[in-house]
Amino acid sequence: MADFLLELRCEEIPARMQAGARAELEKLFRKQLEADGISVEDLRVWSTPRRLALIARGLPLETEATSIEVKGPRVGAPDQAINGFLGRYLADREELVERNGVYFLERLAAGRPISRVLQEAVETLVREFSWPKSMRWGEASISTDSLRWVRPLSGIVAILDGDVLECDVPGVPVGRETIGHRFHSSGTITISDADIYELKLLGHKVIVDHEERQNIIREGAARVAAEAGLTLVADEGLVIENAGLTEWPVPLLGRFDEAFLDVPPEVIQLTARVNQKYFVCEDAGGKLANAFVCTANIEAADPAVVVDGNRKVLAARLSDARFFWEQDQKTPLAEHAKKLSRITFHEKLGTVADKVERVAKLAEWLASEGIVPNCDPALARQAAELCKADLVTEMVGEFPELQGLMGGYYATKEGLPVEVAEAIRDHYKPVGQGDEVPTAPVTVAVSLADKLDTLAQFFRIDERPTGSKDPFALRRAVLGLVSLTVQNGLRYDFLAAFDQAVEGDLSLETATAGGHFASFVIDRLKVQQRDAGVRHDVIDAVASFGGDDDVGSERDIVRLLARVHALQAFVTTEDGTNLLAGYKRAANILKKEGWQGGGEPEHTGEEDPLALVDAPGMAEIVAEQAHPSGTHLSYTLEPAEKALIDALDTAAPRAAQAVEAEQFADAMAALATLRAPIDRFFEEVTVNADESEKRKARLALLARFRDAVHRVADFSRIEG
C-alpha cells in the first residue's frame, strides 16, 4: 500500500473559489485513478489561499493486470493481412483465437506501477483543472497555449511513499520543496513524506486544513467578543471567507467610535462585512455594539497596530455611511420619489415612477375592494407611492441590498404612519421560499400590488421566463404572490387582478398574455406545492386551464388549494379511484360516440331551458337534461339506469351546493355516492343499444354523470 501527497502551490486563490477547487481536485484525481481501476478509499483534500493539497492513503502498488482483446482479420483473409496484423502486435499465429469467423488476439496487460498512474493523473489534472476564471502568466505566456491556472502556479510537491513522483508540468518545478507562511517563514521547507506534511507546515505557521482554520476563526472571534463582554453575531459566510484569506488566522477585536451607532445597525453590519470582511458584535441587550472582529493573517508584533489600522479603515467607511444617512434625510421621501422618473424601469414599461404609480393604483384597489381586508386604501396608496423612493438615496446607491429597509428608516424619521414605514420596509418580501411573508395589511397590499404589476406588465409585453432564463425574476415574483395570497387567505380572482393590473387593456395580445399568466401561476403553484406533497395532476384537475373550455376553472388561489386538498384526499380512497375509473370510461364512450352534448347548461329552474337552444338536434338532449328523472321516455328504464338517475338527482345538486358553499369535502362525499351506481350501470346496461332512443338517452345520462363530476373537478386530468 502506498501513500501519496500532492500540493499545488500558487499565488493567492480567491477565497470564494477554494471550496470549488477542492471538489474539482478530488473529482479529477478520483476520475484519473478510477480510469486505471483504482478506487481511492482514504482521500483528504485541503486548501489555503496559497495551496491546494491532497493526501491519498492505501493506494495499491500497481494496477491489476487486465486482459485486452484485439479484433483481427477475418478467418480466411489473405496471409498478407494476417501477417500485417501479427506484425503490428508482434504476435505469433498460434496466439490467434477464432471466434465467429474472426481472429482475435488476446493479451494480458501487466499491472502498471502506481507511480505511472499518479504521474499521468497529476499531469492531466493540472491541464484539465477547471477554474471559474483562469489566466496565463510569465515568460511562457508569449504563447496562448501556455498553462492556465487561477493565479500563477508556482510549484508542486508530489511525494509517493517518501519519493518524489516524477512528472512534467511545463514551467512548474515538481519536488519535495514547499514554502511556509508568507511572512512568518522564509526559505523552503523539505517534505519527506505525506505523514509529515501537515505538521511540518504547522511549524511554519500554515494551517493547511481549511476546516481547522474555520474553527479557529469561529471560536476565536466568539472568544475575543466574549472577553470584551459582547456576543459575536455569527456569520458562517464570513468564517469561510476569512479562512480562505489566511493561512494563520488570528481574530482580533477592535472598537469604533460610538457616535457611528446612530447609523442603522444593518448599515454598519453590511459595511463591516461586505467591504472589510469583519464580524460585528452585540451587547448584553442584543443591540449592535461599537466593536468589530477582523481576522489577521499574522501573529503581529503588536496586534494593537493592526487593529488600529483596521479601525481607521472602518471609520472612513462608516463616515461615508453616516454622511449618506444624514444627507438622505435632508430630503423627504416624496421628493426622492420624484427622481424615479429619471430611471428607466424597462424600455417598454416606462420609468420607475410609472411603475410606482401603477403599484399605487393597484394597492389602493386591493384595499378598497376588500381583497386585502382591514386595509386603509389611502395608507396603501401612500405607502406604495413612497416604496421605491429609497432607490435614489445615496445609501441604497452604495448598498443596493438595503433597498426597502432604508426607505422604512427614512419614513420613520420623517414621522410617517408606522403602517406606511413598515410597508415600505417589507414590501419586497417574501424574497424567496422560506422568507418571512408579510401579514400587516398595508404591507400586504403594497407587496402584492408590486408583484402583480411586475408580472402583469412583463407578461403584457411578452417577456416571459424561458428555460433557465428569468431576467426579471418573474418566478420569484409569482411565488411571492402565491405566498402572500395563501398565508393571508386573500380571496380574489387572479385573472381579474391581472386585468386590473393591465388597466383594462382589452387587446387580443393582452388577453393572450392573461392566459399565459394564468398558466404561469398554476405552474409555479405546482412547483411550490410539490414539497407539501400536492399532486400536479390534481391541481390541473381543479385549475383546468388550457382546455377547450375553462368553465369551472378555479382562479381563486385560496379556494383552489382547498379544492385540491379535498380532491387529493378523495381520489386516493377506494371510492375515489373507482369513481375516477367510471368517469374515464364514461368520457371515453362519449368521445368515441362523438357525443356533442357539451356541458350541462346553467339553469335556475325558472326559465325554459329549451329557449336557450337553437339547434334543433340539441332540444332533445336539453329536454332530457332538464327533466332528468327520465319519466317522459317511452321505454322502460332498466334498474341500473334508474338507480344512476336517482343517484344523480341527489348527488349532482348536493355536490354543486357544496362547491358553492366551499365545502369541498362534502362535494367529494356527494360524488362518492355515485360510485356504486356508475359501476352497476356499466355492468348491467348496454349503452350502445340498437334502439336509437335508448342509445341517446343513455349517452345523455353518461354525459350528465360526467358533467356532474366535472363540476367538482376535471377528472380527465387526474392520472391513474
Partner: protein, 318 residues
C-alpha cells in the same frame, strides 16, 4: 510653483531631519524611494504622461506597451483626474486629482509578488507589524478592451495597491502577460505617516504639506468641474477629439489617435461631472470613447506587428 511653497522651502531647517530620505515622513521621499527601488530592479523610470487621464493605466507605457512580445519594465507616477470625486477640499480622503504609482513588468516575473512586498518594506511597511493580504479583485476596462486577474492588496484592511496580470489589451491577447502594480500614493502615505486627512500629509521634510500644494487646486478645480466648465465647449471638444482621433487613425499614426481617445475620455468625465449627460446618452458616449480607444489600440498593434513578428519569429498578433 505656489509662492507660499517657495518661502517654506527657503526657511532654514525646521524640526525635520534635513539629511537622509525618509519615506515614512515625506510624500516625495516615498515616491523617490519607489523610484530607486524599481530603478534598481530594471525599470525605466518615466515621467507622467502630459495629458489629463482618469488612471495610470491609460499611460501609453502601460496600455500600448502591454501589447507585443517585447519585454518592457517601467515605473512612473501618473496624476489622475476624476472630476466627479472632487469635494472642494472638504473631504479628508477624496480628491479630483491624485497620484498613482504605476509599475509595469512584462513578462510578469515569477517573483513579482516578492518584489512588490520588498517595495513595501522599502517605504516602511513591515509585514510582521502590518497585516498584508492579497484579496481577489479582477480588473476590466471595456473602454480599453482589456481585462486581467489579480488582487487588491490590503494593509491592515486598507486597499493600498491594485495588482493585475493583464490578459487582454485592446481586444488582443497579451503575449506575454504583463504584471501591473498600481499604488494609491496618497492612501499609502497617509497610512505610513499616520495622518487621517490627506491635506495633513507631509509633502517633504521641510514643512510643506500636501494641503499647501493642492488644497486650493482642489477647491478651484472642484468648482470648475462641477459648476463652471462651459458645457457647450466641452461637447465641442469631445466632437473634435473624436474627429481628430479618426484623422490620426486614417493617417496611420495610432499613438496620436490614442492621445485623442484619452482626451475624449476625460472630456466625457467632465461632462459627467457637470451633470449634463442623461442616463440614456451616457451609454452612447461611453460606447464612442470605447470605440476610439479600441480602434487606436488595434491600429497600434497592427502597425507594430510586422516589426514584432520579425523580431520574434513565430509570434503572431492573433
Amino acid at each position: 510653483m505656489a509662492p507660499g511653497m517657495e518661502s517654506e522651502a527657503k526657511s532654514p531647517a525646521r524640526e525635520s531631519a534635513p539629511d537622509g530620505r525618509d519615506p515614512t515622513r515625506s510624500f516625495q521621499d516615498m515616491i523617490l524611494t519607489l523610484h530607486d527601488f524599481w530603478s534598481a530592479n530594471g525599470c525605466v523610470i518615466l515621467q507622467p504622461y502630459d495629458m489629463r487621464m482618469g488612471a495610470g493605466t491609460f499611460h501609453t507605457a502601460t496600455t500600448l506597451r502591454a501589447l507585443g512580445p517585447e519585454p518592457w519594465n517601467a515605473a512612473f507616477v501618473q496624476p489622475c483626474r476624476r472630476p466627479t470625486d472632487g469635494r472642494y477640499g472638504e473631504n479628508p480622503n477624496r480628491l479630483q486629482h491624485y497620484y498613482q504609482y504605476q509599475v509595469i513588468l512584462k513578462p510578469s516575473p515569477a517573483d513579482i509578488q516578492e518584489l512588490y512586498l520588498a517595495s513595501l518594506k522599502a517605504i516602511g511597511i513591515d509585514p510582521l507589524a502590518h497585516d498584508i493580504r492579497f484579496v481577489e479583485d479582477d480588473w476590466e476596462s471595456p473602454t480599453l478592451g482589456a481585462w486581467g486577474l489579480g488582487w487588491e492588496v490590503w494593509c491592515d484592511g486598507m486597499e493600498v495597491t491594485q495588482f493585475t496580470y493583464f490578459q487582454q489589451m485592446g481586444g488582443f491577447d497579451c503575449k506575454p502577460v504583463a504584471g501591473e502594480l498600481t499604488y494609491g500614493l496618497e492612501r499609502l502615505a497617509m497610512y505610513i505617516q499616520g495622518v487621517d486627512n490627506v491635506y495633513d500629509l507631509a509633502f517633504n521634510q521641510h514643512g510643506v504639506s500636501y494641503g499647501d500644494v493642492f488644497l486650493e487646486n482642489e477647491r478651484q478645480m472642484s468648482k470648475w468641474n462641477f459648476e463652471v466648465a462651459e458645457t457647450d465647449a466641452l461637447f465641442d471638444l469631445f466632437a473634435k477629439a473624436e474627429a481628430e482621433c479618426r484623422n490620426a487613425l486614417s493617417a496611420g499614426v495610432p499613438i496620436a489617435a490614442y492621445e485623442q481617445a484619452i482626451e475624449a475620455s476625460h472630456v466625457f468625465n467632465l461632462l459627467q461631472a457637470r451633470g449634463v449627460i442623461s442616463v440614456q446618452e451616457r451609454a452612447s458616449y461611453m460606447g464612442r470613447v470605447r470605440d476610439l480607444a479600441r480602434s487606436s489600440c488595434e491600429a497600434y498593434a497592427e502597425k507594430m506587428s510586422p516589426e514584432w513578428e520579425a523580431k520574434y519569429p513565430g509570434w503572431r498578433l492573433v
